[in-house]
Symmetry: D2
Subunit: 415 residues, 4 copies
Amino acid sequence: MISSNTAPQAAPKKVVLAYSGGLDTSIILKWLQTEYDCEVITFTADLGQGEELEPARAKAEMLGIKPENIHIEDLREEFVRDYVFPMFRANAQYEGLYLLGTSIARPLISKRLVEIAAQHGADAVSHGATGKGNDQVRFELAAYALNPEIVVIAPWREWDLGSRTKLLEFAEQNQIPIAKDKRGEAPFSVDANLLHTSSEGKVLEDPAEDAPDYVYQRSVHPEDAPDTPEYIEIEFEKGDPVAINGEKMSPATILTELNEYGRKHGIGRLDLVEGRYVGMKSRGIYETPGGTILLDAHRGIESITMDRGAMHLKDELMPKYAELIYNGYWFSPEREMLQAAIDLSQEHVTGTVRMKLYKGLARVVGRWSDHSLYSEEHVTFEEDMGAYDQTDAAGFIQLNALRLKLIAMRNKRVK
Amino acid sequence: MISSNTAPQAAPKKVVLAYSGGLDTSIILKWLQTEYDCEVITFTADLGQGEELEPARAKAEMLGIKPENIHIEDLREEFVRDYVFPMFRANAQYEGLYLLGTSIARPLISKRLVEIAAQHGADAVSHGATGKGNDQVRFELAAYALNPEIVVIAPWREWDLGSRTKLLEFAEQNQIPIAKDKRGEAPFSVDANLLHTSSEGKVLEDPAEDAPDYVYQRSVHPEDAPDTPEYIEIEFEKGDPVAINGEKMSPATILTELNEYGRKHGIGRLDLVEGRYVGMKSRGIYETPGGTILLDAHRGIESITMDRGAMHLKDELMPKYAELIYNGYWFSPEREMLQAAIDLSQEHVTGTVRMKLYKGLARVVGRWSDHSLYSEEHVTFEEDMGAYDQTDAAGFIQLNALRLKLIAMRNKRVK
Amino acid sequence: MISSNTAPQAAPKKVVLAYSGGLDTSIILKWLQTEYDCEVITFTADLGQGEELEPARAKAEMLGIKPENIHIEDLREEFVRDYVFPMFRANAQYEGLYLLGTSIARPLISKRLVEIAAQHGADAVSHGATGKGNDQVRFELAAYALNPEIVVIAPWREWDLGSRTKLLEFAEQNQIPIAKDKRGEAPFSVDANLLHTSSEGKVLEDPAEDAPDYVYQRSVHPEDAPDTPEYIEIEFEKGDPVAINGEKMSPATILTELNEYGRKHGIGRLDLVEGRYVGMKSRGIYETPGGTILLDAHRGIESITMDRGAMHLKDELMPKYAELIYNGYWFSPEREMLQAAIDLSQEHVTGTVRMKLYKGLARVVGRWSDHSLYSEEHVTFEEDMGAYDQTDAAGFIQLNALRLKLIAMRNKRVK
Amino acid sequence: MISSNTAPQAAPKKVVLAYSGGLDTSIILKWLQTEYDCEVITFTADLGQGEELEPARAKAEMLGIKPENIHIEDLREEFVRDYVFPMFRANAQYEGLYLLGTSIARPLISKRLVEIAAQHGADAVSHGATGKGNDQVRFELAAYALNPEIVVIAPWREWDLGSRTKLLEFAEQNQIPIAKDKRGEAPFSVDANLLHTSSEGKVLEDPAEDAPDYVYQRSVHPEDAPDTPEYIEIEFEKGDPVAINGEKMSPATILTELNEYGRKHGIGRLDLVEGRYVGMKSRGIYETPGGTILLDAHRGIESITMDRGAMHLKDELMPKYAELIYNGYWFSPEREMLQAAIDLSQEHVTGTVRMKLYKGLARVVGRWSDHSLYSEEHVTFEEDMGAYDQTDAAGFIQLNALRLKLIAMRNKRVK
């Protein structure tokens, strides 16, 4: 039976926790043990956030987690192949600009939490997202969509450890080691994975103020980027990148590589105020070096291989698709419907794009494909040998104009 | 009565010609006189293309046009105020990227052609657009929408002067002076106005090949732009820019100024393959220096002053709106309906955006407004004094999850 | 300051209650007095539900409400003019079928609640909607949109009077008179106003079972309707009906009249399972006699007066518009944006429609208008005297086919 | 090479003609032989139009067509299975009402024309649609999409046999037998197939006038339908009907059966003015007896088996989907994208609907399914045993209201 999980009737016995190994999720781990008196299973995933995972194992063990209850997984290939690339097929940008780097990682984490829960017979999962953000929604909608009976524990919505001081006290009381640099408050909050790094809060809370330089961690400042442009060629197959400069690579490798190009040239920085699903606006600094290159390159290869009708439909569907991902509806029938339409449109999105990278900017400067719909024969300013009969245009215009003429006649008549 | 204009029944007696003063439209002028034996009225407009207009007067007179039949007008303010700015309120981008610089100029030219025709009692208008492009459609749909009885003469679809050689022969036979640099073929074709310059054809016809440097005429190469970023503040009122760095300016002046900033920093270059309304794909090089800054700045001010619901609706409507303008339906009821919705959304889009301009890139780095919806009180990582109750999020998630849970239960049951 | 109203910090001192005079809202009235120890102001509106309002005054006085705190208003004209008709301009149908009769009444009630609260200096409003339905959402979103500082008290979500027995006990303990027919449980729940009557719950909860005949209260059974069809002519101005059979009437009068026609002919019954905003599906029996006639008639007059481009855009926007109203977002910027677009489309929706009413069915059988876009001259099978040149169609088809041909060539090449 | 087919360069040698055996297409047959001096192959298809096909064979032979060049095919099952049912999955209605009965038949005819052309090595196809209607566009877009090199001959746009008199003269001169009832002009024009019968033109050209009774040929007048309602149960699997009253049937059989029910009860008549793709409005009388029942039944089974998110997306996509079919873009990538999304949504649209048929009206009165998402447990007015926590609604409303509150605060502040 589905029951409302707001106030779980029976206290969960086993909980799978999304565990980073950091101070906050270590406190959650301890809090779950003490508050719920339950067995905790930790799940630590490498989604390309750029941190060692093994310390998380040691820390979990130190906090009393049984070795068989510690899960550490490298999900980078799955993340890029099954989440990032499908999303880029849509050219998804939330509110016109945001490449959804955080949003797209949540469903995969929830999927693994739920799967590990099934494996251990656990009745609950837990995450460290706060009650003001979108991530709690994304984690939980995904979890419920995959297992309607799972209980989700969101400690930040439940406990009374709302301030830094209380958290540190709790850590000390529970022998949770506190790294020196975690004593003070971080000047802003960070989320990272292979697609992006986002920073928000504290020093970034005034949207009128420029973000301080030190916020950017994933890319050089455009001013410090090389003074000479670099050109790369990205090869696509059915909408996904498969090679750079002729070298075939796996999905995670290719995104890693693009990140490196983007980092070097200061590409992919975004300073954005966005509308959160939970109702308020927030300001974030996003760095999506490889993704920014990928978006432009993908549009570039689509431009010669995808028909106008398909492309315009796709463009109309995109904002809704991006909104669904942002709001946490990856595992929803409507996202899957849109994905089916989008994926079909990519069947011929195969070919190569040449990009110029320079001082923060990635620009398409050439594209070619065996699947090209571009017909020099039709478009040429030169004699086209009968490929296109210009007089056809007269009839085309007349019939398209007919309804406009009828309106104009009517308006003249009745005004 | 509306009649089909494909083969105008009665030959027109008076024709208003969109006349640039250049070789091609001078040939059209002469051809109209000889082919149709009609009185020609010339209309030459300054839309900010950066050319002197007075030589067009002299040339028209030389070709036998009566002084009272020569119309030369500065339409820059009207163009920016009534066409460019309304379009930018929508953040319109065709196929995700193109800022519609050519498309948006056509309706205004047609409007004036039709108005001047009415003033002179002329029964036809004429333009110099070819039969393969979008511009013929835009000119003619606009003309028919404004006067359903007007006849449109499109010489490029009618005459047999299809090659350069024939054109030059015709010019020589008719004493039309040919500038020395017009003897040879231009290496590509150019259209320009205050919003943008587009280049296409000939050397640009292979989309695999980089555009040669000399194609870009409106902006410095990013590599040659200043090594130091420049910051500007753009002030908006109800969605339109009204001041730069605190100085109020008219619409055309502000766009001219933004163009200057863009030009200097190499901003607004676009190398695009696009789907034409007439069915084939074409490749264009666009330079929209001021417009590119304006688009980002406008999104920036919207980001703090426009509600999420309004913005997402606007984003969903945008591709259709852009398509309508691209295809020539500015004067259509559906474009006007969308405009009504978009304009309403701009009522509070008032405030200031701070932009960083550097080496081809314009980025928002700050924004503020009395109309801001951003609430530090709600979003803060600090204690929010009760502005937001985090436990509300639990109910929010539960109810949003309910349908997903019901699906999951069903799918488990029937599979 | 906006504060979260889930747990109102300071107990409200004065509350405006949406009061029907019935048992349930009388219990709420008493409960508010005792639970919150606050002054209660009652608001009773005539939206055409077909009940006497004066008994509500007597009842309120009996329950101790001061005469100056009793508001009884006839809102029928405002309801139809400012809510029902604007919605019908959109041909709004939720999930393809539901005419939104309940949804559209809520915003007006909330608007008056908030206005009366302002007038009395009241800090809260209260309603009798349950915690499972859409109405709570509609009441509250509207109230918060109009006054962000208002507190909303929803007793059904707060009290422990969840069962019929407890309610009756409370009524007895508090000397609230209980009509004899209210002792037992009603076999289903009803909401009514000038637009519709909805019935749901209890005997209707199994969607496999036909609704019992006695559920329908607003229309005769089609089987009992007259055996002879009746024809009426409805005249529209700018999208709104203004006369029936040549007789001009006010908005509420015209809807009342259409209801009478619909009732007599058994028109407007709907047995629907719909997706609620709060996540579950529910089954309702709707009777919308006049509205069903109006919808078809409105489509009929649009069919000759509205251009295809406008109509298709409107049709695409409609589902979103209907969803917004259903979900309670009448007072939202996105509903207002859509309304602006829709209203603009109605400028020429003026003319007359002839309807045939017979045994449950309302069908358009004729329509005429000075604003008609229908051109017999163009469409005729007879010789059209040059109004339309059939050879134009060849060019029209060729250019529309071009992209499809290019796709076909490509697909042949690469497969 | 694709060439413009407006004026086919080389005269076609072999033409496949869509041949009904009637007078008009017999004249076309002869005209093709004489005008183009080409070999004609006839294709006569049974799409359920209710006419014998064998007379077409005799007539073709009489007109000199070689037996091996005569193709007569029963396409009813393919038509319903691959065209009608996929379209009904979308609940497609053009301009809100039209079930697209003519539009959906054209692509299949073109597909067979092109396939037969390939089989015979023919270089052209030909059809009997006029130059004012939509059908020419549908035939030709489909043909070009399937074979970009095919030539299409549309005699009605080419010849000078524009009047009835000239046609009859041509027939007499060419020994084409003229049935007695074809001497005079038909009072209106008819198209029929298994899905619908449409009538238009002549006596129907004034949209203010009721259609004469004799126009309706496919259904009894509602007034003459049985005085007692009839109930049927339609079973669906994955969105398609598969059985009536428990009896499994093939696609064409089930539609035939539904037509019989509809005919008997006077269901599915529509008197519509619609906007043609070629620009003018036209008035048609449509009879879609089985399809009208099917549409309502399909919505009925969707209402309990399809999630709200999927359904609302589908409703938003429908107008565009219907427009594409109406305009002739069945074989376009964008129709296929939409179909992919729609088909995915039908995976669980399995179950049974009970319909009441009476005097022109088909109404859903019950529906049940193993795949149902309807949860009595959640929706019940009774105690729900914890399935739904009503207090969740408070948080749900608060967070959904937050943005509206922020708008209201802002508007108060700046006004």
